[in-house]
Structures are given as structure tokens and as C-alpha cells.
């Protein structure tokens, strides 16, 4: 990323923190909540500007390194919070999404990356941007679902109205996240055929992506077709999100994942 990242990051963190404080104290004051929402939206716009600036400076899409993908995640996650708030009007959703976005930006501040314009030949493909951007968007949406699930599992009682309502939220978020995750995975298969000669090579990244996909598919069937309620599907969501985190940046922890072609550098 560029030298300007710390400046952008600090302003974005300030906006998220301010939005979080306002959302925490607002009960029915529409002006306060609108101000908070504008601040959250502005932080995403600010980071989009940083992405555009980085793209121009690096002369390649800023999607190659782990820090760059964390940046995209920090753009999408607060927007997921805003969209969810728009439909269900729960301020805690915006607060949780802001908090997670702050965490990812702070991680980038503590682990600054070198300015690197290189893009290996295998990544120079029209599939690169849609494949990775769709994945980051789906991670953000499924991350939002995990935050709702976590809050519900900890705070709500089985059979309560809040649990039922929050499960409706997770159903919608999983529907969006699963669909985009699926499309991103298929784009990867089509790209792999052009780049590596086979659409699926059981590369560790692909294996863990499939594991995540299977987990969310089971959640959808469990909720949609079997119509199970309660905390069990939400716990399944949390486990599924762990597999996404391993797939995204935890592969180095898994012994079977050495030699993956999907290496962040």
C-alpha cells in the first residue's frame, strides 16, 4: 500500500469510533443516528479513495497482499452493517461492524507492508479482480452474520423473540454471502483452468474454501428446509466463519496447507 495509508486509517478509525459512540447513546434521536450512519459511510468512501490511489500508484489492483485484502474487508463490512441497519434498525449491528473494521485497519497499521508494484504473471488475468473482490465482499457479509450470531448466542434466550428476529437477519446475510461466495469460487475454477490447466487442484486454499461452502450450505438447509430454530444453527454459523478465517489468512497454521499456490506475499 502507499505511504498515505496511516493518514487515511487514522481518519477512518476516528469516524468509526465517533459513529460507534453516537449509535451507543442514540435511542430515538434520528439526527444522532443519521450522523452516525453518515460517518460510517464516509469511512468506507475514504478507504475506497485510498484503494483508488493505491491502484494508481502500484499500477496493479491492490488485491495481492494480505494487508490489501484486509483493506477491502474494512470497506465492505461497515457497508454490510449499514444495509442491515436500514432493514432491521438495530444499532448494535453498526457498532459491531465498525468495531471489526477498526480491528482490521489497526492490524494493517501494526503490520505495514512494502510498496510493491510487482504482480506475478499468473495474477495478470481479467478474473483476478472479480474473483478476489467477490470473495472479500462475501467474507464481509458472512462476517456480519457471524457477529449477529455471536451476539445472539451469548445474550439471547432460546425461544425469545430477539433470537427469532436475529436468525432472520443471519438467514438474509448468509443468503447474500453464500451466493457471492459461490460465484467467487466458480470464477476461481474457471480462472484456474486457464492459468493452471485444471479447474480444481485441491490446493489448500481451494480445500478450505470448499469446507466453508459446505458449512454454509448445511446452515441453509438446516434453516430453510429442515426449519430448525434455536441456537444450534447460529453455533454452526460461528464454526463456518472460523473456516473462512483459516481459508483467508490462517492457512499457515494448518500442516496440510504448505505449498499452497495461493500465497500472500
Amino acid at each position: 500500500m502507499t505511504n498515505m495509508f496511516p493518514a487515511y486509517a487514522i481518519i477512518a478509525i476516528f469516524l468509526w469510533l465517533s459513529s460507534t459512540v453516537l449509535m451507543s447513546i442514540t435511542k430515538s434521536d434520528k439526527r444522532l443516528s443519521t450522523t452516525a450512519l453518515i460517518m460510517t459511510f464516509s469511512s468506507s468512501i475514504l478507504l475506497v479513495m485510498l484503494i483508488v490511489h493505491s491502484w494508481s500508484a502500484l499500477q496493479r489492483p491492490p488485491l495481492r497482499t494480505i494487508g490489501e485484502t484486509r483493506l477491502w474487508y474494512s470497506v465492505f463490512l461497515p457497508l454490510v452493517g449499514l444495509a442491515t441497519y436500514r432493514k432491521w434498525h438495530f444499532s448494535w449491528i453498526v457498532i459491531f461492524c465498525n468495531a471489526m473494521a477498526i480491528l482490521f485497519v489497526v492490524l494493517n497499521l501494526f503490520k505495514p507492508e512494502n510498496f510493491d508494484q510487482t504482480l506475478m504473471p499468473a495474477l495478470q488475468s481479467p478474473w483476478f479482480v472479480p474473483h478476489v473482490v467477490l470473495f472479500m465482499f462475501s467474507y464481509a457479509v458472512l462476517g456480519g452474520a457471524a457477529l449477529v450470531a455471536l451476539k445472539t448466542v451469548i445474550k439471547e434466550k432460546t425461544g425469545s423473540t430477539a433470537l427469532v428476529q436475529n436468525t432472520e437477519i443471519t438467514d438474509t446475510l448468509v443468503k447474500v454471502g453464500f451466493s457471492t461466495f459461490t460465484i467467487a469460487m466458480m470464477f476461481g475454477a474457471l480462472w484456474a483452468k486457464e492459468a493452471w490447466g485444471h479447474y480444481w487442484t485441491w490446493d489448500p486454499k481451494e480445500t478450505w474454501a470448499l469446507l466453508s461452502w459446505l458449512s454454509y450450505h448445511m446452515y441453509i438447509l438446516y434453516r430453510y428446509k429442515a426449519a430448525h430454530t434455536g441456537k444450534v444453527p447460529l453455533i454452526l454459523l460461528l464454526v463456518a466463519f472460523v473456516s473462512i478465517l483459516i481459508c483467508w489468512f490462517g492457512l499457515h497454521l494448518v500442516p496440510g496447507a504448505k505449498g499452497s499456490m495461493h500465497v500472500y506475499n
Binding site: 505511504n3 512494502n114 510498496f115 508494484q117 510487482t118 504482480l119 506475478m120 504473471p121 499468473a122 495478470q124 488475468s125 432472520e168 438467514d171 438474509t172 443468503k175 447474500v176 453464500f178 451466493s179 457471492t180 459461490t182 460465484i183 466458480m186 475454477a189 474457471l190 483452468k193 486457464e194 492459468a195 493452471w196 490447466g197 485444471h198 479447474y199 480444481w200 485441491w202 489448500p204 480445500t207 478450505w208 470448499l210 469446507l211 459446505l214 458449512s215 450450505h217 448445511m218 441453509i220 438447509l221 438446516y222 430453510y224 428446509k225 429442515a226 426449519a227 430448525h228 494448518v254 500442516p255 496440510g256 496447507a257 504448505k258
Partner: protein, 396 residues
């Protein structure tokens, strides 16, 4: 029976079946993967599809097979196997037939995997058939049908897929390729390498600072690639690049630009620290020539990194004894098709870098690809439909 107890019963039954697969893997014969070659695989596909559709007429069986509890259980079995695949290092399918006792290190050629796949295809197929028969095909059903096609096509078609490699030197010709087992494959046409071209990114400069005993030296890399006029702080030194030659040969004490020969990247740099000035040449080197560095005080040294490839391609001529005579440019992400084979640019002589006179090409022939692709596009269509679907309608 409540839905949850039905799910638990099916999960238990499937887990026991999977466990039986592990016992079979440990004490039984190896899975006869090669038996699934054409035409056996197409016969299996036809029979399996007929079985799945035919089972719809046996009410109790079809009701159980097409229930969501059974499908969740079947997905859970596949999830267990994929988790084993993701956690344990795997040996290549063709390396050893039985490399691990319980199949943990060779999941894809193990009995538990085979059992989990058969279960899933049977159950998923029944689930989809029920939707089609009832004319109640949801968007998730489209996605699942695509997944069924991909799963069965990829696995039955795997043994029919041919992958081989050919290594060609400039001016030479090859008409035999070799697969990963070393078996020679007659391509039916010859490949000659006319030219191998590689573009490189300008390399970066880095400083190496020795650390106390027992610790690895510290490496500080420049932020930007080497170019004339670059100035940066690396450690305690202010570095400036006064000259940069992307194609240079080594002279007596310096480097000079050249159009011919095994040229390297070279730069004349200065390094300043507390009023002291050091200057000298750096070069990236290639295997035939060591990189050239600049040694500063306190054993600190300045070097130039190896340049990274930006793009590379092979211009090849393909000919056969009849009418084929084409000149093609094969590059990464842009394979070329010749007589049913797809040719991929895979490698080159790394010791010579951009001066490689050898290219490594991979050739792939996959007759099941159109079938699998139809499944992939159906999955994408199903996902898009699901994305815009009504939650309530999907819940029915």
C-alpha cells in the same frame, strides 16, 4: 419423530458408514481408481442417474433419501473428508497407491472418500429429482443440480484427463511428452521452440545488517523498484541510485550497457551515513554470475534483489505430418489449443532467467470438461437466482 432426532439418527448411520470405510481402507484392497476409465465411467454415470431417478418410484426410500436431514448428513460426511484433506498433508494421487494406513494422507484415493461421494451423489440426486418431479425447482435446486453435475463429472472424468509436460530448447523439436509417472505420450504433432521472451520488473535494493550471534541478519528492502534518481533511507544509510542499467555486462570494475550476452540488472549507487560516502555498483546476478554488492562499514552490505518476472511467453511452431503448421504464442493465462490438447506455458530455465533458451509446456486433454463446465455455469446461475430469491419462498 422430531426433525432433530431424525437428523441425529441419519447422521449416526452415515458416520458409522464412513467409519466402515476407514476400516476398509485399513484392512481392505486399494480403491481401483483406474477401473473407472472410459467407457466404464460413462456407463456408471448412466446407471447411477437411472438409479437416482428410479428410486423416486419407491416411496419410503425416496422420502428418506430426498429429505433435508439426509442431505445435511451426507454433506456432513463430505465435510469431514474435506476437513481431513485440509488438515493432513496429502501425497499425490499417482505417487503411491497406499501411502497411509487410514487414508488420511491420500484422501482422494481412499475408501472413506469414495463412500462419502457415493452417499452425497445419491442423496443430492434424489433431492433434486424430487424437486423436478414435483415441479418445485427452487433457485437452490438449480445450484445443487450444478453441484451434482460438477461432482460426478469431475470425479468420473478425472481418470480420462491426460496431463503431460514437454521441455523444448530453442531450435529443437519435441513430439513426445511425459506424464507425471514418466510415461511417454505421443502427441501426434511436434512442437519447436522459436523464441522464449521474458519481461522483468526492475529489482529492489536491500541492505543486510548483521545481528548479534544466534540471530539471522536483518534485511531492509527499498520501498520502490530500482530506477535512476531513486533515493531512500535503508537503515542508517541514505541510498541514492545514480545510474541504472536494465541490460548490463560486467567490465573490469564497472558495468556497461549491452544488447547481447547474458546481461543483468546493474545500478551505480551511493550510500551516505554521518558525512561518510560510499559508492559502487550493484547487480542482480544470474546463476552464471554472482550478484555484485557494496560493502559498507560494520559488515553492513547493500545488494540488489533478483528481478521478478513480469510476463513470459514461448513462440512455438506446431506441425504434424498432414496439414498442421502453425506458429503460436503461449503465455501464462493464455493457453493455446492444438488437436484437442490445450498447451500451457508452465516454466523456463530459472538459472538463466530472461535468457532462458528452454521452455516447459504443459499439455492437457480433458474430454469431460464440457460436462463439468455446464455444471459450473449452472452453479453460477443458481447462486444468482438464490441471491435475488424471496427467503419465504425458498423456505417452503
Amino acid at each position: 419423530m422430531t426433525k432433530l432426532s431424525a437428523l441425529l439418527k441419519t447422521l449416526t448411520a452415515f458416520t458409522l458408514t464412513l467409519f466402515a470405510g476407514y476400516i476398509l481402507e485399513r484392512y481392505g484392497p486399494p480403491l481401483p481408481l483406474q477401473a473407472f476409465q472410459w467407457p466404464v465411467n460413462i456407463i456408471i454415470l448412466s446407471l447411477f442417474t437411472c438409479t437416482v431417478v428410479g428410486l423416486q418410484s419407491i416411496k419410503p426410500v425416496s422420502a428418506w433419501l430426498s429429505s433435508s436431514s439426509t442431505l445435511i448428513s451426507a454433506l456432513a460426511m463430505m465435510t469431514i473428508e474435506v476437513m481431513v484433506l485440509g488438515i493432513f498433508p496429502q501425497t499425490h494421487l499417482q505417487d503411491v497407491l497406499r501411502p497411509s494406513l487410514w487414508g488420511f494422507h491420500s484422501v482422494l484415493s481412499s475408501w472413506p472418500w469414495f463412500i462419502s461421494q457415493v452417499l452425497l451423489l445419491l442423496v443430492l440426486g434424489s433431492h433434486i429429482s424430487k424437486q423436478i418431479v414435483r415441479k418445485d425447482f427452487t433457485s437452490l435446486g438449480v445450484l445443487q443440480l450444478g453441484a451434482w453435475i460438477v461432482l460426478i463429472g469431475a470425479q468420473l472424468g478425472y481418470v480420462d484427463m491426460e496431463r503431460c509436460w514437454v521441455r523444448v530448447a530453442e531450435g529443437n523439436r519435441a513430439d513426445i511428452a511425459f506424464d507425471s509417472g514418466g510415461k511417454a505420450i505421443d502427441l501426434g504433432f511436434s512442437i519447436s521452440l522459436q523464441d522464449f521472451i521474458m519481461e522483468e520488473y526492475a529489482p529492489k535494493i536491500f541492505t543486510v545488517i548483521p545481528q548479534p550471534e544466534g540471530q539471522s541478519p536483518k534485511k531492509i528492502e527499498s520501498q520502490r523498484a530500482c530506477h535512476r534518481g531513486l533515493t531512500e533511507s535503508l537503515g542508517e544509510y541514505e541510498i541514492a541510485v545514480e545510474k541504472y542499467l536494465p541490460y548490463a555486462l560486467r567490465g573490469h570494475n564497472d558495468f556497461f550497457p549491452s544488447d547481447t550476452g547474458l546481461t543483468v540488472h546493474a545500478a551505480f549507487v551511493t550510500a551516505k551515513k554521518e558525512g561518510k560516502l560510499y559508492s559502487g555498483w550493484l547487480s542482480s546476478g544470474i546463476n552464471q554470475m554472482k550478484p555484485h554488492g557494496l560493502f559498507l562499514e560494520d559488515s553492513v552490505a547493500l545488494f540488489m534483489d533478483r528481478p521478478k518476472p513480469k510476463s513470459y511467453s514461448s513462440t512455438i511452431v506446431v506441425k504434424d505430418s498432414i496439414s498442421l503448421d502453425d506458429t503460436l504464442s503461449v503465455r501464462v493465462n493464455k493457453p493455446m489449443k492444438v488437436k484437442g490438447w490445450k498447451i500451457y506455458q508452465r516454466g523456463f530455465d530459472k538459472s538463466r532467467g530472461r535468457w532462458s533458451r528452454i521452455c516447459v509446456l504443459e499439455l492437457v486433454r480433458d474430454p469431460w470438461l464440457p460436462f463439468v463446465y455446464s455444471g459450473i455455469f449452472m452453479i453460477i446461475a443458481g447462486a444468482l437466482l438464490f441471491l435475488f430469491s424471496d427467503n419465504r419462498k425458498e423456505n417452503q
